[in-house]
Structures are given as structure tokens and as C-alpha cells.
Symmetry: C2
Subunit: 287 residues, 2 copies
Amino acid sequence: MPLMFHRMVIAGVGLIGGSLALAARKCKLVEEIIGFGRKEKNLHLAQRRGIIDRYFVNEDDIPRGTDLLILATPVQATVPLAISFLPRLGPGCLISDVGSVKGEIVQEMEKLLPAQISFVGAHPIAGSEQWGAKAAIPDLFFRCRCILTPTRKTDPRSVKKLGSFWRRLGARVEIMDPNLHDRILALVSHLPHVLAYALVNTLGRVDVDFVDLKDYCGGGFKDLTRIASSRPEIWRDICLVNRHAVSKSILEYMRCLEQLRKSIHGGEGDLLEKEFNRANELRRAIP
Amino acid sequence: MPLMFHRMVIAGVGLIGGSLALAARKCKLVEEIIGFGRKEKNLHLAQRRGIIDRYFVNEDDIPRGTDLLILATPVQATVPLAISFLPRLGPGCLISDVGSVKGEIVQEMEKLLPAQISFVGAHPIAGSEQWGAKAAIPDLFFRCRCILTPTRKTDPRSVKKLGSFWRRLGARVEIMDPNLHDRILALVSHLPHVLAYALVNTLGRVDVDFVDLKDYCGGGFKDLTRIASSRPEIWRDICLVNRHAVSKSILEYMRCLEQLRKSIHGGEGDLLEKEFNRANELRRAIP
């Protein structure tokens, strides 16, 4: 199988960016991988682990001949970073990202792009609560779903090329409207993260006779709040950039929760069991 | 090590009751184990798996000489079942339970008990979303916390004996006031279950352009909702018997969630990051 890109720059060599570098190298899709970031310690570690060949820390130093630029920072940094890199990118360069929010970013990127540089939004649905280059693994995207979010303005050849790239990494590629993507992800991913953070904070805020409640958290509590260990900066950005859909999802959730609370408070056993049964069946149907 | 009981009756041979039988047998603490329940198919399976030696399905058939009766049904059945068994229990019999709610049950049991029969409330904090005798395993309680909830009326020798029993099964025994137990468990266990059911039901209730949202649920959603696969009947009972503490915990949770939602909706990044960081640190401190 031939190389797909000569010089890949990964801006943000964390769990996702670092894993993408490892996977691209393992599958021999790129010749050289160069890291960019703010934290030299993390970049140094990435280089030592063989994730990247070298790195730079000033936007101006992006190497000539970069033909694939992956923006893998927290999502609020995606567009500003692209703006800094753009003047030094040559014609034919493909820019993509890996962020959990697409609508606003795709729209802003399309406003910025010169004629011979293309942007295709991408979101590989994979991850864990780990972060940093230390957490990167080559198989993170194997069999994961990767959603590409082109619009009518996106260069079709670039969409095709990026689709092949992700497919060759083992991902199942799907094309979706960026705003639809954001509404779906608000419900299935962003909402659960906010719920987990809120549950941990409830534990921190409530006092029950000075008992250290942490000692009594069992498997259920721990499962529910595992994702509250995720990097706060990442999730702050996602929630803010996708604020309307996330806020709406939280309101929808609160309606369901308040209905359950009323059944509990009012001692309505049949109604409660019906709602629990409904959830039970739906949960078992999730692949 | 000597036997502790001759004839143990387990009412409700499910995940908890069945695992307790397996553990008591493995540790050679009881001579004979007899199951009781409504579902003969489950009891038959329990007998075939060697969890119980034999079983009965009418309360009147509880064997003479039962010296340990464990009530391991959904919690709303605990007191009514005890009432049915009491006329046939001999002096010296120790009754206990394994339920997630204690206050109301302990109070009602104390009203019922004749002089020579004692009740000690117990709650081993262990479990999974599995249920039935098929899910029982002998090591479920190894190193788990088991809370005993005696009151000033409880026979101290029975508390001591039940404490030894659980310790010999490998549990870490702790004594706690029944109402304090219920307030703690409402927060760390009952609340998370209600939150999980509500999240699955939100997914079921919302429509996003006719997309099958189930297909997009990643690891975070699945972790958060694993406990929504728990047996609805069990959790209906727990929520109802502990309704005041559970309802209060949900209200406290909704306050935390609404605060996050306001920060998200208002684009208050610093506040949001502070709250996420607070949750992050507290989550990492959970043992």
C-alpha cells in the first residue's frame, strides 16, 4: 500500500493526536510525523515514545511541505491555530481535525480557507478519560466510527482522501452534516460528561453528618463518574462551542429526571417501574 | 473453624442471596442451605448449581430448626415476608437482610419481633447489574463493605454473631445508624441508579432527525448507563422505601446540574472549568 502523505503535522499530541500518529505510522500512511504543542515536556515524551519524529513550538516554524495538518487541540483552539498556520501552508495541504464539535468550526474554517487548501472536519468517536502523549495507543481507532462532516463547499477529492486515510487506520467512516453531528453528540457524549461532573460535585457539596462519602462509593457510582476524570479543559471547550445543543440536552434530561423524582416522591410504584423497565429494555438494545 | 449456623434459609435466591449461599458454603459456616422464592424455575436452577440444598415456595413450609433467616428479596417484600415466617420460627433464630435501605425496615421489624427472635439489619455493598441465581458467585462479598445497622433495641449477641459471620465471608464489617445509612446510600448508590435510568429514557424520548441514537453511544454513555440494566423491580422498591432521601438527593443533584447548564448556556468558561476541575480532583480521590 502506498504512502498517503509525506509530512503530517499533529497540533496537540495528546491521547487522540498521539494515537493518530502511532496508527498512521503503524499503517505506513505517512513518511514523517511532526508534533506541535505548547507543552514541551509532553512533546519531548511523544518524541521519546516514537510517536513523532520531531516537534516545534512556534506556529511560524511549521515545516514547508506539510501536506496533512491535523488539529487535535481542545476545540476552542482549532480555528485560532488554523489562522496562525495558514500563511505558511503550501497549496494542496489538507487540514483536518478530530474534535467532538463540528458545526461552528466547519463554518469558520470555510470562511478562512484560501483556494488551494482544503479543510475536512472529522470526529473519530474514540477515547478514554486518560490524556496526554503518555496515554496514546496505536489501536485507539481500530473499528471505531469516524464521522466526516463535509459541506457543499468542501473539496470532494479531499473528503475521499481523508476517508481512505481513516479507513486504512481501521475506522468505519461515515459522512454527516456538521450540525446534525453536534446535536447527536450533545446527547450521547457531551450530556453524559456534564452529568458525571455534576454527580461528583453533588457528592462534594452535600454534607451527611461529616461522613466521608467517598468511602462509600461502589461500582455504580464509579462507573457513572469515570468520565469525570476526563481533562476539564477539553470538556469546557466542547460544552462551550456546542453550548446550544448541550444546554438543550441538559434541559431534556432534567425533564426526564424530574418525572422520575415526582414518581418517587409520590410513591407511584407502577409508574416508576414502567419507566425503569423502559430504560432497562432500551439499554439492553444498545450495541 | 466451627459451623456458625445449622439451617440457613435464604428468601430470594438472586444475585445477592445466591452469592451469600455460595460464600457461606465455601467458608463452611452453615450445615444446610434452603432456598425460598416465588419463581420455581430460579430455585430449581439454584439447586442444580449447588447454591441451595433444597427449596420451598410456601411460607408455611419454612423448616423447623431454621437458625438463620436471610431476607434477600426486593426491599418492599422484606417486612411482609418476615410477618409470614415469624409464627413458624423457633426461639434463637436470627433474622437478617441484605437490602439497600435500612431505616424503615429496621423500625418495622423491631415492632414485630417476639422476645426470643432477633433481627439485625445488614447491607453488603456489592452487586452488579446482573440478577437471578444464574448470576450468583461465591466471591461477591470478598473485601466488600458490609454495614450492620443495629439500634438500642437490638440484641448485642446477635450483632456480634452476624458481624463474625460476614467477617468470615471476607467482608469488612461496619456498624452504622440505619437512617444515616439510608442518607449516605441515597447519594452514593440510589441517586446514580436514577440518573442512569433517566439518561437512557432521555435518549428514548428525544428525536434527532430520525437518527437511531443507539448507534452513536460510545464508552462514556455505556459506562454511565450500565446500571440501568439493573433489575427494575429492585430499584423501584429501593427508591420507594427510601423516597425522602432519594428525592432530596435528586433535588441536590439538579441544583448542581442546573448550575453547570447556566455556565454552559452563558458561555462562562472560567466558571465551567473551575467546576469541572473540582469534580476531576474529587473523582480522582475516590478509592
